[in-house]
Symmetry: C2
Subunit: 274 residues, 2 copies
Amino acid sequence: MAIDLSRLCIHTITTRDWELEKAVEKYVEKGIRGISVWRNYLESRNLKDVKALLASNKMNVVSLVRGGFFTGLNESDRVKAIDENKKAIEEAASIGAEMVVLVCGASPGQSLEVSRTQIQRGIESILPMAMDLEVKLAIEPLHPMYADTRSAVNTLNQANRMAETIDSEYVGVAIDVDHLWWDETLKQEILRCGRNNNIFAFHLCDWRNPTRDLLNDRTIMGEGVIPIQEIINMVREAGFNGFNEVEIFSDEHWAEDQDDFLEKIIRAYMRYKL
Amino acid sequence: MAIDLSRLCIHTITTRDWELEKAVEKYVEKGIRGISVWRNYLESRNLKDVKALLASNKMNVVSLVRGGFFTGLNESDRVKAIDENKKAIEEAASIGAEMVVLVCGASPGQSLEVSRTQIQRGIESILPMAMDLEVKLAIEPLHPMYADTRSAVNTLNQANRMAETIDSEYVGVAIDVDHLWWDETLKQEILRCGRNNNIFAFHLCDWRNPTRDLLNDRTIMGEGVIPIQEIINMVREAGFNGFNEVEIFSDEHWAEDQDDFLEKIIRAYMRYKL
């Protein structure tokens, strides 16, 4: 079987210690054509230069990661969040990223329901600019273990409903296997997401067993407990044909030689029927 | 307001380092009338003596913790699990515990759906003995962060369905705020659980923010992000009038003076309208 990495995308956070230039160089060297850029890699950079770097290397900039965090106990915090999200949309447009991924936020001291209302209002507030600059917005439902401070959107059902309510071709969903694999309604919700043309992104990694850290102990596809191929099949059946984005936060893998780590990712990726 | 601890129950694991005699002495001293005994406190003990200790101190033995782990890739492992659960039921009967709490199990290498089928079969296998010995079985849905190896039952909806399918007055559900607080269907599922007389147990603690460990970083009610009073109200509205069981796994609190810790738990408990 020929090696087809044409739809593989790597999140820059995956190879955390590589600066953007190095990451692009390494990805290109391996034949990887997609990149999702985390915002910290853009700090104090000239975004025109970044765009030129990505374009001259023919990289598809799948997404800018991340906007969101729309919730807050005070109006002023929520206004600040909207400003920050507008900045993210401008950055995405500047580097030619197709979408901004939204980690929607949650604020202790108010109910998750109130947070979800604020999230929807936040997205609606930034939508005109997103449409103007032709940058899509992808709501990423996060695992319920992050409902304390990271996101009050914890199931694909909730993300689907929110996207359907806002009802714009610029608002959809990012499906991450790590956040959603445990949900018995996953297949029906993925198909629903596809029917509404709302699958904007598909994120791959695996759930390490045992998981030793709530945030930075993900692992490579095939090394954990997630039924990756089954979820790939669901997304395909739902009509998704975009990039398969590898997003791994892992203290263990970040401590490895990053060339070896990237090689392992590619080998793992090639084991799936994509 | 008078101090009413008549429906407060403490899990022995909460004051982990106290042996059973000491825990009983301390709980009684504070006016606490309920205890849930973890099985490790019964190791190499004469269970008649344990029963006498609990009875002479007029302790209500709310539950034995824990049975379950019914899943396995091999038939022989599943048979072993059933034997172990029968032993737990005998222990519960021996010390006068009203029920065995079930942490149902999950096995990497098979789907959560298959695991749930095995769990149901396991419960059905031990049910005749449970009825014989008049020990109830409480299915405890666990947070989705434990879907890798601890439980394939991750929502109250799933636990409700399983209890309803088995349809025995000896099989119900343990509702733990830590596992279920994030679920937007919680109220409707608690009311459903109550309508079917399936609320067997109610476990209290709080979700620490930030949570630094996947297992042993729970905290005292009021110190975390869970809307405790709201969930208490749901359980009451559903007709539950049993013990309020405090079950806290916490390296931080275990390192404290355990008298102080117990005092803090009581003070926290008294702040709620129960």
